[in-house]
């Protein structure tokens, strides 16, 4: 495995730290006038999603992490594994367990394109698209014409996600949702 020195650190570089693969977010070279140089580095732990702040002596090295991101199509879930296929024409498939999904399974709509992060060829992170369009399968009956009162009610989507929607939304309608916040964005005309 290759090693990267602090002066090669840049955002997007994948390195190993404390046994976990990390993505470098920010690297700042700090050198007080005549003092010893160091680097302040922000890294995102790709397994936990946590952001770490570390200081390294300039010139220190970290081992590179064999981490690759692929665009994949979500095929189906068998309840234990979620199956994805590469979209590069290779038809290669990977199966991810629930840990790598880390809650994002509620946004996975069959045939949607997602980003799958592989570490040593195993999925460790599945990132759904920022916006998904999903049908409402359960909610209280809509109040016809009420598009202004501003109230909201829970609605269950076809993937099992429960979100808040305005009162006028009905079962069978398709809604657009921001997967980063879980917020309703609007109805989608079919």
């Amino acid at each position: 495995m290759a090693n990267y020195s602090t002066n090669e650190f840049k955002s997007g570089l994948k390195v190993m730290l404390e046994g976990d693969p990390c993505n470098i977010i920010e690297n700042e070279f700090v050198k007080p006038g005549k003092g010893q140089a160091f680097n302040r580095v922000k890294l995102k732990n790709l397994r936990s999603g946590r952001v770490w702040e570390r200081t390294f002596k300039s010139g220190e090295t970290l081992e590179s992490a064999d981490v690759m991101e692929f665009e994949m199509e979500f095929l189906y879930s068998d309840g234990t594994y979620w199956h994805f296929m590469k979209t590069d024409g290779s038809f290669e498939q990977v199966a991810s367990d629930k840990a790598a999904l880390d809650g994002s399974e509620i946004w996975l709509n069959e045939t949607d394109r997602v980003t799958v992060t592989l570490w040593n060829d195993n999925p460790i992170l599945v990132t759904p698209p920022n916006f998904v369009e999903l049908a409402v399968i359960e909610t209280d009956p809509g109040l016809k014409g009420d598009t202004a009162s501003g109230g909201s009610k829970p609605a269950t989507l076809k993937t099992g996600a429960v979100i808040k929607v305005p009162l006028f939304v009905n079962i069978g309608e398709v809604v657009r949702v921001d997967t980063r916040t879980g917020e309703y964005q609007g109805r989608v005309k079919q």
Partner: protein, 306 residues
């Protein structure tokens, strides 16, 4: 455009010094001796010597003969300094004022900067930099942030403070702890132009030693910070060659501690020092000044030749 930007700044600096009868000088970029500073690495030019990391030694040699105020604008070189505030080659203004004490040089530094900003104001927006300059001692800053006196705090306490801020775990000298803490917790918060004066003794470099108003021994130097960036560095210049030799030897001792090669002592400088008039000297990074004025995220931008 960056080309004009630099040109206007250089023109203004020269206009200031020429109007005050400070002589512009040129000293060789290639020097026989590498920098003695532990954490400033010189770039070697095989069979010739080293690219200078600052024109300090050569200018002091000139001062010892010419005896009057001089300035120089030149490229300087420091290995492995790469970042948005650092470049391995950058442009430095360095000037020495014969007979000046440090207070007078501090006043001149502010005057020079105000002059430069005024001269270029027609073409470049400097409005965000026109607030009053501040002055504060290193001790006050350190006390405000860490509730410790930097001149007397124990090495153990410095180590604890640094460890709590994730300092990389290696052997450190007193100065390294102080630098680390200052760079991480104090410097980023200095936004308005601020002169920091009375440095710890272990950071005297080539400055004279004096006493602060509480009778504590301090290094008679100042640095100017603007928007979290170190822009200028100044000393009441040391003229005691015995004392300088001791400091050079101390630097070599710390170099050994870090497994670095020792640097031969610049004996030419030691010979020049006693012949130098009383003087104060300062250096200022031109690229950093450009970065601060323009708000550009990276000084490397000013060297784009594409």
């Amino acid at each position: 455009m960056d080309l004009l930007f630099r040109s206007e700044i250089l023109k203004a600096i020269r206009k200031y010094f020429y109007s005050t009868s400070v002589i512009e000088v040129v000293t060789p970029v290639i020097q026989k001796f590498a920098s003695s500073e532990v954490f400033i690495e010189s770039i070697e030019v095989k069979n010739y010597g080293y690219l200078h990391t600052s024109p300090e030694h050569a200018m002091k040699h000139l001062l010892s003969k010419y005896k009057d105020s001089i300035f120089q604008i030149c490229p300087v070189f420091r290995a492995n300094e790469i970042g948005s505030f650092h470049k391995e080659e950058f442009q430095m203004l360095e000037w020495y004022r014969s007979s000046f004490d440090l207070t007078k040089l501090l006043e001149e530094t502010e005057k020079l900067l105000r002059f430069v900003l005024k001269e270029i104001a027609a073409n470049f927006d400097c409005a965000h930099l026109l607030f009053p300059f501040q002055k504060i001692s290193y001790k006050s800053l350190f006390l405000n942030t860490f509730s410790e006196n930097p001149h007397t705090v124990s090495l153990k306490k410095l180590s604890q403070l640094s460890k709590s801020l994730n300092m990389p775990n290696i052997n450190h000298s007193r100065s390294e702890y102080l630098d680390f803490l200052f760079a991480l917790k104090i410097q980023p918060k200095i936004m308005a132009p601020t002169f920091v004066f009375d440095y710890p003794l272990c950071q005297a470099a080539q400055a004279e030693i004096s006493f602060d108003d509480e009778g504590e021994m301090v290094a008679n130097r100042f640095e100017l910070f603007i928007e979290g960036v170190e822009l200028a560095n100044a000393y009441q210049e040391l003229r005691d060659s015995g004392e300088l030799l001791t400091r050079f030897n101390d630097n070599n001792a710390i170099r050994r501690l870090h497994g670095k090669k020792e640097v031969p002592v610049d004996y030419q400088l030691l010979e020049s020092l006693p012949l130098m008039p009383k003087c104060a000297g300062a250096s200022l990074g031109i690229d950093r000044l450009m970065k601060i004025i323009s708000g550009s995220p990276d000084i490397n931008k000013f060297y784009d030749t594409d």
